[in-house]
């Protein structure tokens, strides 16, 4: 069937004629087909999503390049070669890059990740879903209004993210940073517009059975909704401020249940669906194995959910949860590879086409990166390997292999295949096939130049952190030394990233030029297909193929022949319900003992998160300082989690205990140590050291930290503190007197004045008592100190 312009020949992807065509045991009978109906596809919305991919792709990668540069420029500026400073010209630029609050690494890095995931990959998902679902269902998307609301709603969310993140409005949960009003909008757009539109299209389809791509779309839509809603639960404490309802260990567990499955259900399942549609279309080859797609789909959906805690190995998370996370990650290896096998083996007999077609080249490399990333993922989840890799650039290299290689290249392949069809190109082809070829090579080299040095940097730094000399002392006690060591690798990364961005720009040019080849009015070819009749007869239940066996054996063999699944495939509601059950059961088994049970049972709490009597809530001023820490995105570079590993306790002090985070809404454990861990920083420096350091971090020679001078000028909003304390109290934090009247603000002022006085006596600047600086320093000085503090008397602890 020719679905788009007649110029483009779209032969069905039939196998060569010598393929066996046996009677199909899965083929039922349409008893009474419905009336023949005529319809068109809504490609206008797909075109919009395609443009959005281009725009946000360039933005996401540009911001990535800026943050990559921020990590290398301060050292470059100071480099002296033969008595000359070759990069002295940077001196004028650095103050701008390092002292502009909204340009700070901590605020821009979440913008980079959010733009890459939700804007670039997100719009790619929607383009793929909207294009393929209509054709796989032989039905127009159910509602043009919902399609448009989905498109514009999602772009509005992206714009809101691009405005709020640099301004410091963040929940600080990775890849879920957006503040609560935007979270609400995401839920509405995802479920109300996208989900309803998609499910209604399934229900009004004219194709009896759902193809595997649609299964993956279903899993994507329901699971992302569940993840987003439960992870984002928060108590608002202002128009753009909220506190996660979970604290510490539980917040970490929920966050990485979300974070890992954002990878699974936002960056994996929809792209597998994309692969299952666009790869056989582009290769004009049948999919390698229907059975494999069933097995790997269900195993993937059920097992992925459990793997989240592998992001929390050796942390204060109970060991059993961490072990479960590791084991399910290992078991995920083959379900993940099922998708890779089905992709690559679909190209059997079509490799000559790969050599000739840039679309297939992108797909092959994309699927290969998927295979590499899903081998590496289980490997990194092995605890002993994770002990080395965690908090280093190894993770960064791993995710960029996945994001640039798998998500990026699958998106580019799809765009190049779609562009001439969507824009009904007059030449019947892409504007420039050669430019697409060039993009392929530039992009591939770009990925390699990004990930290889960053793997190297990660392993190098990880080994340096744990190195001891012969005397038994840390070999590199000075953290900055381990940062200096990897600077050359960071420079190569900048080059690799630039190449990848260059490729993205080539893609944008090529697609836009193809758009100029469009006809004056897009043709809307009219399709016709019979509506689904009321009665469909499944084929007879297959007989067991076994000769002599038990009843159980025979039943098993009938089950393995898979007719039951074929039946599910024509029942979208039942299919969706089973996906929801798989996801919820897996989530419940892990989250109930860890997150829900401890809320209701002291025994469960003491087992998983034993309380520590000396751990008390932050004072109102410290809480305000913690908000500054969150707003500045400090967690992007500093962890707050000392692992029970000898090298780590030597460097940072006593390892972190679960009970220490009882009042941390949200947790701030971090995932990367571009700077040192801060879990035990409290009391280790003088107040004036903190002020001097935050204003000019490069007083530590070699430091690449940006300046926070602006905090010494910005006034702290004391009036807002009461609302925040009250919100925390609502979450069960025992604030006692601080929740009464305006006590919190006054308590904060008193503490701020005494700290300001202390700073003055230590020779630091004066006049800081009403600034954000004081609050942040107060928070930093509290970090990790409660563990050794005397437990308050019982009377004092109660209200």
């Amino acid at each position: 069937m020719s679905a788009t312009s007649s110029v483009i020949s779209e032969r069905p992807a039939h196998a060569s004629h010598d393929a066996a065509t046996e009677p199909d045991p899965l083929h039922g009978v349409e008893v009474r087909p419905g009336p023949m109906e005529q319809f068109t596809y809504n490609d206008a919305v797909v075109r919009k999503f395609a443009f959005a991919i281009l725009l946000w792709g360039v933005v996401a990668m540009l911001v990535g390049l800026i943050v990559a540069l921020q990590l290398v420029l301060p050292v470059a500026a100071e480099t002296v070669v033969g008595g000359v400073r070759p990069f002295a010209f940077l001196d004028g630029l650095l103050p701008f890059l390092y002292e502009t609050p909204w340009l700070n690494f901590g605020r821009l890095r979440p913008l980079h990740t959010n733009a890459a995931i939700f804007a670039f990959a997100g719009n790619a998902i929607f383009a793929a879903v909207y294009y393929s679902t209509q054709r796989l269902c032989k039905a127009r998307m159910w509602s043009d209004t919902l399609s448009n609301l989905h498109f514009w709603g999602w772009q509005a969310i992206i714009v809101a993210a691009a405005l709020t993140l640099p301004l410091g409005y963040t929940q600080s949960k990775e890849y879920a940073e957006l503040e609560w009003p935007i979270d609400v909008a995401i839920a509405v757009v995802w479920v109300g517009f996208f989900g309803v539109n998609f499910m209604m299209t399934l229900l009004t389809r004219r194709e009896r059975h759902m193809y595997v791509a649609l299964w993956f779309y279903i899993a994507t839509i329901v699971t992302v909704a569940v993840l987003h809603v439960f992870n984002s639960l928060a108590i608002p404490a202002g128009a753009l401020k909220s506190y996660s309802v979970y604290a510490g260990v539980q917040d970490a567990m929920v966050q990485w249940w979300y974070g890992h499955n954002a990878v699974a259900f936002f960056l994996t399942t929809p792209f597998l669906g994309l692969m299952y549609y666009f790869l056989p279309k582009a290769a004009e080859r049948p999919v390698y194995s229907y059975r494999l797609s069933i097995v790997h789909f269900w195993s993937l959906v059920f097992m992925y959910i459990w793997a989240g805690p592998h992001h929390l190995h050796y942390t204060a998370l109970p060991q059993w949860a961490s072990t479960l996370g590791m084991l399910f990650s290992l078991m995920l290896w083959m379900p993940s590879w099922g998708g890779m096998i089905n992709g690559l083996l679909t190209l059997r007999g079509a490799w000559h086409k790969v050599a000739a077609d840039p679309v297939l080249k992108f797909f092959v490399v994309g699927i290969t990166f998927y295979g590499m990333a899903t081998f590496e993922g289980p490997m990194l989840s092995i605890k002993s390997i994770n002990a080395l890799s965690h908090y280093t650039d190894w993770t960064i290299a791993h995710v960029h292999g996945g994001a640039l290689g798998w998500n990026g290249f699958m998106t580019f392949g799809m765009l190049y295949w779609l562009a001439p069809r969507l824009f009904q190109s007059r030449t019947g082809a892409l504007w420039s096939r050669r430019l697409a070829e060039t993009h392929f090579w530039v992009g591939t080299i770009g990925i390699l130049m990004y990930i290889v040095p960053i793997y190297w940097a990660g392993i190098t730094q990880g080994l340096m952190w744990r190195a001891f000399d012969e005397s038994g002392a840390l070999r590199f006690p000075d953290f900055v030394e381990t940062v200096m060591k990897i600077m050359p690798m960071y420079w190569i990364r900048v080059i690799g990233g630039s190449l990848f961005l260059l490729g993205m720009i080539m893609c944008a040019v090529n697609v836009l030029m193809t758009w100029t080849l469009r006809p004056s009015r897009y043709a809307e070819p009219v399709q016709s297909a019979p509506a689904l009749g009321a009665v469909y007869r499944d084929p007879p239940k297959p007989a067991s193929r076994l000769h002599a066996n038990t009843e159980f054996g025979h039943r098993g063999d009938v089950f393995l022949q898979g007719l039951w699944h074929r039946t599910w495939e024509r029942l979208p509601v039942k299919f969706t319900v089973w996906v929801v059950i798989a996801v919820l059961v897996a989530s419940a088994l892990e989250l109930i003992p860890m997150v829900v049970a401890p809320m209701f049972s002291t025994a469960w709490r003491e087992k998983n998160i034993p309380r520590i009597a000396s751990v008390q809530p932050y004072t109102p001023l410290e809480l305000a300082g913690r908000d500054v820490y969150v707003a500045e995105g400090c967690y992007n570079c500093h962890s707050q989690m000392v692992r029970p590993i000898w090298a780590e306790t030597k460097r940072y002090g006593e390892y972190s205990k679960p009970g220490e985070f009882a009042y941390d809404h949200p947790f701030q454990w971090g995932s990367r140590r571009i700077g040192p861990d801060l879990a035990r920083i409290g009391g280790l420096r003088s107040y004036d050291w903190h002020v001097a350091h935050l204003e000019n971090p490069r007083m530590v020679p070699g430091s690449i930290m940006p300046s926070y001078k602006h905090l010494s000028h910005e006034k702290l909003d004391f009036k807002a503190i009461q609302r925040r304390v009250n919100a925390m109290a609502m979450l069960g934090v025992p604030y006692g007197e601080a929740v009464k009247g305006d006590n919190a603000a006054q308590m904060a002022r008193d503490q701020a004045e005494s700290i300001a006085a202390e700073i003055a006596t230590q020779g630091g600047p004066t006049g800081l008592e009403d600034t954000k600086m004081i609050a942040l320093v107060a928070y930093l000085q509290r970090l990790g100190t409660d563990l050794h503090a005397p437990a308050p008397a019982e009377a004092g602890a109660a209200k």
Partner: protein, 198 residues
């Protein structure tokens, strides 16, 4: 994979022109999948059900004991008195270890060469809370000047604080310049005793 095309059974359905083979899932795929499941089962049994298995905490404790024994095994617990600190001032091996502790914990405020930053200059002859070498130990342990000098009692072991005190004592006069002297000038340390011959 050595399938011939002719042997691939094609399923009799088609979606927008896409067809599927009825190929079996590869055997090695099943084997590896099963192996990961079996491995996981026994791993969980061994590490999470078995009460004898090592935990993160027990591993850390073992490392702590082994490392402490390795470094300080020969000398046992060092007492924070003048004689011990004086002896350590002449012990090159422990001073080397102490220099690492200084770099990791003290250099942020006192500079890598001890000439001071937000913290006092440790290379001049003026001291604020120190008259004798064992006072250095006391300041490291409990801090000084309100919150200005932190207490390291919970962070460094007693032995580490003793050798660090010896190292800091030796910084005196090791460099010139840096932060202006604070406090009052005190008499020189007693001479370093000659190393005991064994």
């Amino acid at each position: 994979m050595s399938h011939t095309k002719a042997a691939d059974p094609l399923l009799n359905h088609e979606y927008d022109g896409i067809r599927e083979y009825d190929n079996p899932t590869p055997g090695w795929w099943h084997v590896l999948f099963l192996l990961t499941i079996i491995f996981s089962f026994f791993y969980f049994l061994y590490y999470e059900i078995n009460p004898e298995s090592a935990t993160n905490e027990s591993n850390l404790q073992a490392a702590r004991v082994a490392q402490t024994k390795r470094i300080f095994g020969a000398v046992g617990e060092l007492s924070p008195d003048e004689a011990t600190i004086q002896k350590m001032r002449g012990n090159a091996q422990f001073l080397e270890i102490a220099s690492g502790i200084f770099l990791g914990n003290c250099a942020q405020c006192h500079a890598r060469d001890g000439t001071g930053g937000t913290g006092v200059n440790l290379t001049d002859d003026a001291y604020k809370n120190v008259n004798r070498v064992e006072d250095i130990y006391a300041v490291i342990t409990r801090g000084a000047g309100g919150q200005a000098m932190p207490a390291w009692e919970n962070r460094l072991s007693q032995n580490e604080r003793v050798i660090l005190a010896a190292f800091v004592a030796n910084l005196r006069g090791s460099a010139t310049g840096g932060k202006a002297p604070e406090g009052k000038e005190i008499p020189p340390w007693p001479p370093i005793p000659a190393p005991e011959s064994k």
